[in-house]
Amino acid sequence: MADIGIVETKYFTFAEPPNELLLHCGEKLGPITIAYETYGQLNSEKNNAVLIAHALSGDAHAAGFHKKQNKPGWWNDLIGPGKAFDTNKYFVICSNVLGGCKGSTGPSSISPETNKPYALDFPLISMWDIVRCQKQLIDSFGITKLLSVAGGSMGGMQVLAWLVLFPEKIRSAIPIATAFRHSPQQIAFNEVGRQAIMADSHWKAGNYYAGSHPVKGLALARMIGHITYMSDESMAEKFGRLRMVNSEPFKFTADFEVEGYLKYRGDNFVQRFDANSYLYITEAMDNFDALEKGSLEKLLHGHKVKVLVMAFKSDWLYPSYQSKEIIKACKLSGVEASYCEINSTYGHDAFLLETEEETHLITHFLKKVFYKYEVTGNYGA
């Protein structure tokens, strides 16, 4: 299938003083810039817009290629002409989260008050704040109702936050490999990552922007993360117990393939991610509880949102029981929903890799929502 071609990141700024955004924590923040990309065309009825929400380390560049880059966006397999999020039909929007470091306002942004990076003066952000910023962006397009909001992992948390906060603004929701709230195990892994960053002597309570960054701590956090994104089986398949060919005869070097892979992932990550953003965003994930405002049953009462939930069999970071809790809430609130637990060995990473199954489910689900049909004559298997 064809790719979108060359795309570029754009920027949307709002909440200029004195109209700052009131955050969930009670503090005010402004101005706020949100980096975003769009693919496809918004139709004249403005009813074909799909918002894609990215995961922890993602960004606005979900599909297509940036100029002179040979690596496509992070969900390029699913977004494009004829793909699941078919850009011939739908207008796809993806924005970098508030608190991020890929063009949106975050702790590494310059504070208008001090003319220096916010660092830890940046207020604590929540998933609700992230979604409210997305809502502002959507409003700026004149879109009153999204066809769908979709995302995996932390992207799925944003989908759930949309479902809870703005059920009247979306026609459907596609939360993938996600949870209403983090389990202690998920919080624990995030906390170890945060501690790794804060234990790095270069972190300096967040004030490292003028000097060396806490790259060792951030790389270690990323390595821990990557372990949780894979499965026992996928690691065995990918690395086995193979050793690197050019490993040096020295104690405790990264000799095994898996060690080399993690090191590569860690080193690669620090080139493109800010350590303070990692702290703020993982904290927002851990604090998130989609149902803190009440049961889904109450919140969705009278709204005709359709929901498609996906989980992956080998995903132990966001196990399928968490997706089943979403389904349980849909059952109780009478929301139309479908659920599939895809048989995959990739672990949590599956939401980025099992594109064939996802494409099938999303394609048909979106068609149904877009054309407002229940069952039509031509849709026999």
Binding site: K324, K331, C340, L361, V375, A381
Partner: protein
Amino acid sequence: MGHDNVRLDHRIISGLVPQGSAVLDLGCGNGDLLYILIKEKIVRGQGIEIDEQAIYKCVAKGLNVFHGDIDSGLADYQDKSFDYVILNQSLQQIRHFETVFNDALRVGKRVIIGLPNFAHFSSRFQLFFLGKAPVTRSLPHAWYDSPNVHFLSMTDFIDFCIRQNVTIEKRVYFTEHREISLFANMFATAGIFVVSR
């Protein structure tokens, strides 16, 4: 999907469900029955199915379906969430039939249940004269690879309903090609019952 190749049991069930009902199909398979019910009876339909490949077929038909087993699929629903809960030829997927049957009666105002008849005359013949566990066209599995964990006749089910204080509102007996009314426990290969409590 033309009307000609609709399975007889699906045709019968479609005849039993009133227009606009809310229907839960437990063990909905590829979704053929739900598809007919939504098309012909404009029902609000939901399926539950254990087989992943069948889920993909259901979603391709535009159906709402949950991937999961029947035994645990009902528990989350509130009482009388559906007008009809359908258990058609899904007995073999259910380990604890009595529990599921009672939960189906809790979640649905009525339950439509489609059962194979293990007391069909050809089964009786094989057991009685050949002394062998029956293998018939409607029960094609040998004892060692049969998915059926429960073996019952039409009479067994009726007795069970009486013991459970369940009212049988309607019953339809049929063979592979047509409905029958006489000596059903002998000649029917399957039966469909509408029950309530």
